[in-house]
Point group: C2
Amino acid sequence: MAKIVMKFGGTSMAGTERIRNVASRVKKEVDAGNQVAVVVSAMAGETDRLVGFCREAAPLHDPKEYDVVVAAGEQITSGLLAITLQAMGVPARSWLGWQLPIHTSDAHSSARIESIETDALNAAMASGEVAVIPGFQGMADTGRVTTLGRGGSDTSAVAVAAAVKADRCDIYTDVDGVYTTDPRIVPKAQKLDKVTYEEMLELASVGAKVLQTRSVSLAMKENVRVQVLTSFEDKPGTLIVSDDEIGENDVERQVITGIAHDKNEAKITLIKVPDRPGAVASIFAPLADASINVDMIIQNIAHDAGSTDVTFTVPGAELARALDALEKAQGAIGYEKLVHDTKVAKISIVGVGMRSHAGVASTMFQALGSRGINIQAISTSEIKVSVLIDEDETELAVRVLHTAYGLDAAD
Amino acid sequence: MAKIVMKFGGTSMAGTERIRNVASRVKKEVDAGNQVAVVVSAMAGETDRLVGFCREAAPLHDPKEYDVVVAAGEQITSGLLAITLQAMGVPARSWLGWQLPIHTSDAHSSARIESIETDALNAAMASGEVAVIPGFQGMADTGRVTTLGRGGSDTSAVAVAAAVKADRCDIYTDVDGVYTTDPRIVPKAQKLDKVTYEEMLELASVGAKVLQTRSVSLAMKENVRVQVLTSFEDKPGTLIVSDDEIGENDVERQVITGIAHDKNEAKITLIKVPDRPGAVASIFAPLADASINVDMIIQNIAHDAGSTDVTFTVPGAELARALDALEKAQGAIGYEKLVHDTKVAKISIVGVGMRSHAGVASTMFQALGSRGINIQAISTSEIKVSVLIDEDETELAVRVLHTAYGLDAAD
């Protein structure tokens, strides 16, 4: 007998017919003798509908009231799943965020879970009753409803799993696992059986939209075994676990686990920045003040005695604000000219194996160079190498690298 | 400065544009220096949508989970109205049923309000903040969400008004007040400035669908001054108050306040019931057991030495169950034949003035008789006379009586 938390996303909960399918999966775990808690999202489209109402009511709205409105979506699906389970003969009840309660910070609309009271939850689960918990919501110490920000239901599920010390947290989504790369680009991409938290974090943060980054960080911190799988087919997904469990030095293991791409970056170059101490700080301070995330940074060698070019990337959505901040700071920074480019893509190779293998980055640069793909910037972490290239070459680069690292499935 | 509770129905809350209209009305009361609490319904159609989901999930569903699902509709509109008020510069916050809390019985899906905690509510109102309260919902002692049954928001509003000792409870609806009769039938029907609780109760229970009967009973019990008015126009509605306030003996007052009609009755006649003690009891016991409400009852004079006919009405929706119960009891009752008729209508004249005036019923019978309208059954209360007639003659009867009692507006 195991203790399992199951989480179902909006696509799985979209309408009573699909909720019945979800209930069947839950019943299967119950029939196998497991104790089950289920965390649910709102029906697909419902949160957008509710957010739309709030925006129509006032473009700048009180996040406390926004939370009251949008939390209703998951409240609805939690009640409906409990009803559906009961109709199948499975004892079940809903536990709203304020009923457990799930204590969060009072940062409304982007609250953080602080603790979850588990006495009632554990008692219910031990009695064989399925606990259905709306994701995305909690309660602040003020007694008011909070939400965790979009995609927060993954985080709710991992937090519940940590709180009840679940053996596994199964996150059902509309993809059947984590792949070596996007299968729409590389048909030979392979589903991974296992991936480490760190790899998943790097993959999640560079554009593999399977899980929310926050939920992976939490799973890593709390050591929750997470499985990503689909609710539409009956097959195992991808397990997200710690390094130890995978065996970093396993000879069978590929050096590179996955290849991600992200077209939502924008490149900014400041031309002829004075080459003196403090110059770089004067560039990034105004961006930090505007809460803009700077990613890849390259400082070219000096043009001549007195100046250099500085290139970096920011999220595409923040480009306008970044340009505004930099133009206002032109006097302080002293650059001559500002150019930007949104037709860029970031390609990343990710793998824990990188730590113990040399020449991994070199293979990347050679493979891209052999196809004439120009690298505009490079950044690295312990288990990741990212390069910035022309957006038009995204698919070509991903395919070339997938083959170069031996990730293609056998025919 | 007055303390006012305002209640807005689903039509008034249907979409952000209409909610803005509601907010303007609330702002007007606030600007006039009043302390305001607002009770809101779900958007028109939303409760039906949520009830539909529950039915699809399981025809027979746990009312505890049904309550979780349907309470979401009012939660959404309460947050949206708070946002809209804030955008107009009016301080406001939502107070969900469990947050105040509104304590109810645990009769899920048809709970009764037991008490409302008012400390936080009074403090908020006194500070100039509008309290926005979702109607229709509360919390049982078990800590679970309850709902009051369809139309319960009127009752929520009256209960809140009683709890905070409001000077007035304004119920905004899609009609602009209570009329002497249905204006679609009698264009000369007049809007009443005032009506007593008892009259309103009789009018509500015989088919004038302005207010839920429960809310009127509660207003009478708690002596809450209720006003019914429209949110779409700017004019006074109808005040519902106690007898004292109207002045029963006011010579200007009409004897009859209003004329109601109800086509949702069905007539049942049992032919040749043995004329012995206990016979009538044997008819109505099985109906009571099946929770069927019997309304008008007539026992004809005996046909011959041994038997009599018994006629009565039941709500049309309960006819099938009533027939079933009576057929099963044929042996015990001993009637010869059972006939029924759904083509009937109940016409009622209502007025507190009836108590001090003789000949009111006689005027009714004469007026109907003069137009050849046959009366199939009669029932009376202290302030009401109802007759059962052929459904086809409904409109004619209402018009004839409206004129006979001098209720037609002057041209």
